[in-house]
Amino acid sequence: MIIVENLSKIFESKTERVAAVDGVGFTVEAGEMVTLLGPSGCGKTTTLRCVAGLERPNDGRIQVDGAPVVDCPAKTFVPPHLRNLGMVFQSYAIWPHMTVFDNVAYALEGKKLARAEIRRRANEALELVQLDGFADRPAPRLSGGQQQRVAIARALAGSPSALLFDEPLSNLDAKLRSEMRSELRRLQQQVGLTSIYVTHDQSEALAISDWIIVMRAGRIVERGRPTEIYRAPKSLFTAQFIGNTNLIPGTVKAAAQGGGPVRVETAMGTMAGLDPNNDLKVGEAVRLSIRPEDLAITGAGAPGAENALTGRVRVATFQGSAVEAELAAGEETIQCHFGRDVELAQGAEINLTFDPLSAVVLRDEALEDELDAA
């Protein structure tokens, strides 16, 4: 179990003082995989490096399995090599002057084990990542994916109390990435290791995490199960950062009552959606977030009906398993994701509807720059 409390890290240069991490706190339960997700510069990697001990935070406490490794008020700082953590780096950080086996065995050398035991455990770790046939290969003569496996075996070999992943898949190509993603998840569950995983890739985060922590500008925006984060994000930032979504601007017409939907006045008529924070008031500027796959085609609805949109097909592309379309609805562009049997002619006018339970209404805020930077 890892407990992080009130963590802050300030980077100072001659010209500026940046709080890379600003009062971050979270808990990783034993055996769970928690992902820190956010655009670059949000402080996720710095947080991880503070847990690893590669950065010294300015404030806060960190506990690993009940033992404090960082306690800034008490000036406690356990150096990284005494924390018993495993780490997988973005650049693999495979030692190029060693063989695959040596890379893994090195992690066991400090543990005062017999040679045979080191050999047994290193081979076990290599087997776990399915590299048992490669033990004697010089490490640089492996593909990117294989190097990443060596890095994982190395991190696992020393039986650490937790594993830290720093964007481990971002240097791999798309196909390999999705393969490694499932493999990582399988390994983590098989070994049952407490893990912190840092990524800027939202689909990766959704696929492998028990919990996702969304970060922005050094702070935590929200925390939730992957399904919650995707279905009912609590902030516009999360909604836009994770997955594709349509964000229709409007103002609150009627607030939620007893868990029911909020009604929003938009240029396309009145729409209803959930208020995940339960605090919107009438007249507030909001955005209604509808995922493209939640829009369905209907026949001509009654004029003035709720949750009804009409749009003209600008472009429709057949994706094999689905049809993706971009519709022009007044000023807005609406993205849709239909089943593969839908046929759409360019310029055709179609009517859409959605379930109020699948849409969320979020307080409007300016975000554009930050997401572009990501």
């Binding site: 990697t45 690893a52 001990g53 590669l54 150096p79 990284p80 090599h81 005494l82 018993n84 953590l85 495993g86 780490m87 780096f89 973005q90 650049s91 693999y92 950080a93 495979i94 030692w95 190029p96 002057h97 090195y106 992690a107 050398e109 400090g110 543990k111 640089p140 990117g144 190097q147 890095a151 190395r154 991190a155 020393g158 830290l164 240097n171």
Partner: protein, 575 residues
């Protein structure tokens, strides 16, 4: 039929023709010097004798050299001088690169900049300025120490260790450059990964950091060693009086000074050549080995700086002092000595005695500025010629599939194994044999410079050339642009940074070069560096210093102008 037509078309293709011309040029410039030296070493006749060109060889020169105790002594001196200078320069370079790149020492950037600024100070002037500082008779530091303590001649530059000191100091900037690029090539994540497996600082250093950096450091040491084996200024000016003979001076004295001994000169040349070829072989092997160790580097590379606390002031003062000795001192001493009265026999004179008469004498003398003009012409001319040849070579090697292009790369690079004295000797002898009217003109020096500086310039251009994607050229081809237009419109603008850097490097080095210019000098083609040596031989250190100051001035003006030009181009590129 079609294949034949295509072949004929290919032969007629003037891209192939120009490739052949380039190969011929390179064979002429690079292979002939090697052959010349080897040939002469197997002959007892001298170049110009009828017997010299006859088919028939002898090992008499080698036998004579090996039997000579002087040869053995020169061998030991050369190796020992190189080893000690290398160690000293390495220690200095290591210290500076650590201070500049890895600590929070104040003025770190300034220290790094000043170390590299040394490139513009001619080696011969550095040597002279250290003689003016610590020679037993006139040395300024000795005079001050005598005044303070009463002990005469505390330091003596005219010793083996005096030579090591001066050459070591002179090589520190090169050591600094090599070591800091070696450190920058290493991914700090590799050390972090070791820490995360539970290894402490010492085990990480011993098992990860040192083995990873070793090939690059080994290569740096070898290059420093080779540079010392080939060095000429310090052995020439100091080695004579210190009675420390090394290969380079032996080649020079046996070739260019009476009594000449062609046979011995060529055997010494062969020995030099052998050392440099063998060491370069290991150098490139280590370099390749080191490159294998470079893995994917994360984008967030940040060298970690150590907080030295109050010690940072100690490192600051120490490194400023070192940099002052490297870059500041030669200049200041030259300036000061140039103001001393002509008849002064001491470096210490009352301030009111200081005078401008040395400069007056210089300006009154007719033709006094011809050598400066010669050096300028050689600097500008050879830099331009070298860059033209080298960009054509880099283009063929990296951007075409014409068979034979690899030969170009090899030929252009092979001359790196030719030490300057050997190169000078070979050119001298070759043009004694070949009736081309270049002896005694700037042309012969310029031709030798082309061979000398090509390998270095090639490295600047090759790395920029490799960054230009083939598709850029293919896109132009598809658009129907002829290849030569393509070269001028696409390649040259993209190559500009590499070209400018290479041009600048060659210009400065050609301007300050002494060895080749001295070996090929006659009355009318003296360069500034050669004049400095002549003045030194005449024993007039005041006139020498005045001329040295003028040489500095011209070089600084040239550097400033070319910097201004390249900066303007740089800015244009960005907008």
């Amino acid at each position: 039929m079609r294949r034949l037509a295509a072949l004929r078309h290919g032969l007629a293709n003037w891209r192939t023709v120009s490739l052949c011309l380039l190969i011929v040029l390179l064979i002429y410039q690079v292979i002939i010097p090697f052959l010349m030296i080897t040939w002469a070493s197997l002959k007892t006749a001298r170049p110009g004798d009828a017997a010299f060109m006859e088919w028939g060889f002898t090992l008499a020169n080698y036998v004579r050299a090996w039997a000579d105790a002087a040869f053995i002594e020169a061998t030991i001196n050369t190796l020992w001088f190189s080893l000690t200078s290398t160690v000293m320069a390495f220690a200095g370079g290591l210290f500076l690169s650590w201070v500049v790149d890895r600590t929070n020492t104040p003025f770190a950037r300034f220290i790094g900049m000043m170390t590299l600024a040394r490139i513009i100070i001619p080696g011969v002037l550095i040597t002279v300025s250290w003689i003016l500082l610590i020679s037993p008779n006139i040395g300024m530091i000795n005079a001050v120490l005598e005044w303070l303590t009463g002990i005469k001649a505390v330091f003596n530059v005219y010793t083996f260790w005096g030579m090591v000191w001066v050459h070591g100091i002179e090589m520190i900037p090169l050591a600094y450059l090599l070591i800091s690029s070696a450190f920058q090539a290493m991914d700090p994540r590799l050390e972090e990964a070791s820490t995360m497996t539970g290894a402490g600082t010492f085990r990480t250093l011993r098992r990860i950091s040192l083995p990873l950096i070793a090939p690059a450091i080994g290569a740096a040491l070898l290059l420093l060693f080779i540079s010392t084996v080939e060095t000429f200024e310090v052995p020439l000016l100091i080695g004579g009086r210190a009675d420390v003979r090394v290969y380079t001076t032996e080649v020079f004295f046996n070739t260019a000074r009476v009594p000449t001994d062609w046979g011995l000169a060529s055997t010494y040349s062969m020995a030099l050549l052998l050392i440099s070829v063998v060491l370069l072989y290991f150098y490139f092997r280590l370099l390749r080995h080191g490159e294998r160790y470079q893995t994917v580097t994360g984008k967030d590379y940040k060298p970690r700086r150590i907080d030295l606390g109050p010690w940072k002031y100690v490192t600051c003062v120490a490194s400023l002092l070192l940099v002052f000795m490297i870059t500041g001192l030669p200049f200041l001493i030259m300036l000061y000595a140039s103001l001393l009265p002509e008849d002064s026999v001491s470096m210490i004179e009352p301030l009111e005695m200081l005078t401008l008469e040395n400069f007056q004498a210089l300006f009154n003398e007719q033709d006094a500025f011809d050598p400066l003009w010669n050096s300028t012409l050689l600097g500008l001319g050879s830099a331009t010629a070298v860059m033209l040849v080298v960009s054509a070579i880099a283009y063929y090697v990296h951007k075409t599939r014409i068979p034979g292009r690899k030969i170009l790369d090899f030929l252009a690079f092979a001359s790196i194994a030719l030490p300057s004295v050997v190169l000078g000797t070979a050119f001298l002898w070759f043009y004694l044999l070949v009736p081309l009217p270049v002896l005694g003109t700037l042309w012969i020096i310029g031709l030798a410079y082309l061979t000398k500086f090509m390998p270095f310039a090639l490295r600047f251009v090759s790395s920029s050339m490799q960054q230009i994607h083939v598709e850029l050229e293919e896109a132009a081809q598809v658009a129907g642009v002829p290849w030569w237009k393509n070269f001028f419109r696409i390649f040259l603008p993209l190559l500009k940074p590499g070209l400018l850097a290479g041009w600048f490097w060659v210009m400065v080095h050609a301007f300050r070069e002494l060895t080749i210019a001295l070996m090929l000098s006659r009355a009318d083609n003296k360069t500034a560096a050669v004049v400095i040596y002549d003045l030194w031989e005449n024993g007039s250190f005041q006139a020498l210093s005045a001329f040295g100051v003028m040489m500095f001035t011209v070089l600084i003006v040239l550097v400033t102008i070319s910097h201004a030009i390249s900066r303007r181009y740089g800015i244009e590129e960005q907008t």
